[in-house]
Structure formats: C-alpha cells, structure tokens
C-alpha cells in the first residue's frame, strides 16, 4: 500500500513538474525504451519535457555488413551461435533466420558459455556472434578465457561489441541538444559512476535507472529536479543493483581480452574507440582472423531514418516508412527489427 501511494505521488509529481524552459531528456537504453512505451510513461511527462530514444540497442547499431559476415560463415559450414535478438536482422542477402530455413546451422543461445559447449561436442567450426554493450562484454571475455583454458580449438567469435560512453560523447558533440540522460541500469552495474565522467565535461546530468515503472518514473523526477536546479550530477538511482564503482573485476577482465578500436554504428557512423577487438594473444578466437570474410557494404533503404532515431533527432513516426512499408513483420531498418528498437516500441505501444 505504501509503495502504491509512493508511486502515485511520484506520478503526480512527474505530471505536474514545473518546467521553465523546453527540456529534452534521452533514455539511452533500449530496454528502457520498451518499458517506457509499454507502460505509457512517456504520456506522464509534464508539458515542455520531451523524452527521446538513444543509441542503446546493440542490435540496432550493428552494421548491416556484420550480418553479411555471419551469413557467409553460416553458408560455408560454420555453426553460428547467437542471441535471439540478431536472428531477424536483414543483411545484404537475407537474415540468419532465412539462412536457417535454407539449412544453415544457426542456434540461439542464452549464454556464450553454451556456444563453447556446442563447440566441444562438434567437429564443425563454431562461431559466436559477439554483439553487445558493457553489460554483455565481460560475459564474452570470461567465455574466451574459458575456451582458452579448455583449449577449444574450433571456436571463435565475430565481434561487434560497442561501448556506451563514446556514443554519449558523439551525441553531446553533435547537433542534437540533450539536457539530461536516463542512464542504462545494467551497463551501469559494470561501468559505475566513473564510466560517465564524460558527462561532467559537458556539464550534463544523468540518472542511472532500474527498469520497473517506479524506477523509471522516480529517475525522471530526479533528473528533472537536477536539470531545473541547473546542476549536473550523475546520480545512482538503481542502488539495489549498481555499486558506485561498478564491477571493476569485470572491466579488468574485458580489458585483458579486448582492446578498443574505432567502430561503425549503424545509422550514426564511425566513432573513435567505441568498439572492441580481441587482443593479439587471443586472436586465435577471432573469426575474422581465422576466416577470410568478404567485405561488403550494405546500403540502408534510402528512406530509412534509423540514424536520426538513434541520435534522438526525430521520433519514429516522423519517418515516412514507419508503419507503412516498415513494420515489425516486414522491417526495413534495424530499429524496427529489434524488440528493443524504438521504432518497434512506438509501433507496438504508441
């Protein structure tokens, strides 16, 4: 009862929050985007506040030619292991789902550890599609270490790992104005407060948030309080899971296995030091070193505006393809493919 009352209080506090100038807040994380739209939290904002989606959906920012590389491996006899999110993303010539229907061996796994269990039991080359942000990167690094310890020879990963802070830096250096960030809760469990030091440089506040409606609403109220007080604090509002220092062991572990590299974000472009590749001593596990993969350039549909959606420049309905030729059943852009893409969240929940 007390919780319900607190929640009602928070909702009314959000709805009636006094705003003196137009305010743009970005939710960085795709899981937040879905929760916000599913619960209708974006309808609770006070006049003058806009909530825009950011680039925090790993599937959405994975370049199309990555899917082409995975398809090439699948069609040349490798077993492809992947998180389910990637399977419907279209490349130049179909998706992993269509390749599977054509007889390729593509298996959805819940953990990269399952991929090495598969590799242990087969004579075939096994590739794990290593896509994800800081939440997922340590798990993949730990898996690589396990594969090395167990001397699994037929296992490699195809990397498209991306780091959140360089994307925030790019957004803040670009033309879209953002007054504050709702920061991704589970990325924060790894990178902690220090991971967002870039925001201090731009004097932009941020609130790390959990994923329940109460978490998100309270984080938005807190963020608006900070913005209107013209402060630029980074606040941990997901204390039941996030330590201020993050998970330093996870960071050390992934830095042992991976090194930063410039990387392409679909719809946004190449951002310096925003991706990771395996260090030289782990290169045996690099699918690109073990196989000669074709380089391709996948052109996005000329009308697709996912890039602007991912940088918070437009809302999905402003794209002419949205809901017309681009739907979850026949997605044109990556933000409609992914269940965590903002186009799909807008389409399904409004």
């Amino acid at each position: 009862m007390q919780n319900q009352r607190q929640q009602k209080n928070l909702i009314s506090r959000l709805q009636t929050f006094p705003i003196t100038s137009p305010t743009r807040v970005m939710e960085v994380c795709g899981t937040h985007t879905v929760a916000i739209h599913r619960q209708g939290i974006h309808h609770l904002l006070p006049p003058g506040v806009r909530l825009v989606s950011g680039p925090g959906c790993p599937v959405c920012v994975t370049p199309g030619n990555y899917i082409d590389e995975a398809l090439f491996l699948a069609r040349n006899g490798s077993i492809i292991t992947t998180f389910g999110d990637l399977i419907r993303v279209p490349g130049h010539d179909g998706s992993l789902q269509t390749a599977r229907s054509q007889g390729c061996d593509i298996r959805i796994v819940y953990s990269p550890l399952e991929a090495i269990q598969i590799a242990e039991k087969t004579e075939h080359d096994t590739v794990f599609l290593a896509v994800g942000f800081e939440t997922t990167i340590p798990a993949i690094a730990a898996t690589i270490m396990k594969a090395r310890e167990k001397q699994i020879r037929r296992f490699s990963i195809l990397t498209a790992l991306r780091l959140v802070p360089p994307a925030l830096l790019a957004l803040l250096s670009g033309s879209s104005r953002i007054d504050g960030f709702l920061l991704p809760g589970h990325v924060s469990t790894i990178i902690g407060l220090e991971g967002y030091s870039i925001l201090n440089r731009f004097q932009i506040p941020g609130v790390m948030s959990g994923f329940t409606p109460g978490d998100i609403i309270s984080s938005l109220v807190l963020l608006l309080e900070i913005i209107t007080k013209k402060r630029h604090d980074i606040v941990n509002n997901y204390r039941r899971a996030v330590r201020d220092q993050g998970n330093p062991l996870s960071r050390r572990l992934y830095k042992t296995v991976f090194q930063p590299e410039d990387a392409c974000w679909r719809g946004i472009g190449v951002l310096p030091n925003s991706g990771l590749r395996l260090r030289e001593e782990y290169r045996d596990f690099d699918a690109r070193s073990r196989h000669s993969l074709p380089t391709s350039s996948t052109e996005d549909h000329p009308g697709c505006r996912c890039g602007e959606v991912l940088s918070g420049m437009i809302d999905p309905p402003q794209c002419e393809l949205h809901g017309t030729i681009c739907t979850p059943e026949t997605p044109v852009g990556p933000c409609m493919v992914s269940t965590e893409g903002s186009c799909q969240a807008w389409y399904r929940f409004g």
Binding site: R13, G30, H186, R240, L253
Partner: protein
Amino acid sequence: MCLAVPMKILQIQGDTALAEVNGVSREIGLQLLPDTKVNDWVIIHAGFAIAKLDEQEAQESLSLFRDGGYLDQ
C-alpha cells in the same frame, strides 16, 4: 538486450553455480562476481552473475531523493 534477471544462488561449485527464480533453475558462471555466496540474490546476464542485488538498498533510492533535497516528503 541488456535485460538481466535476479536469481537466487542455490549451490556453488568452483566458478559455476546453480541459480533459481520462480522454480526455474539454471547453471551460471561466477567469474565476474567471485565472492558470491549461497542464498545471495544476483543479477544474471548472458549466463553470468554480474551484480549482487540488495533489496534493502531499494529503499535507499528513496532516501537519496530526500537527502539530496530533491523531494520534500
């Protein structure tokens, strides 16, 4: 994709544990959170425990509002 679920640790063997939530149990890796103990609640992502969950600290979020002078109730 950064979705993660809370689970309770039932058994630990080396760097592997059996974790359970709502009657569903799963083998998970403890490499990223090696000080995990039986009966701890942890957040699981991609088959690994990534953070210890503290229910009591949920309440601290609200205290934080008050302490920071952001809420006056």
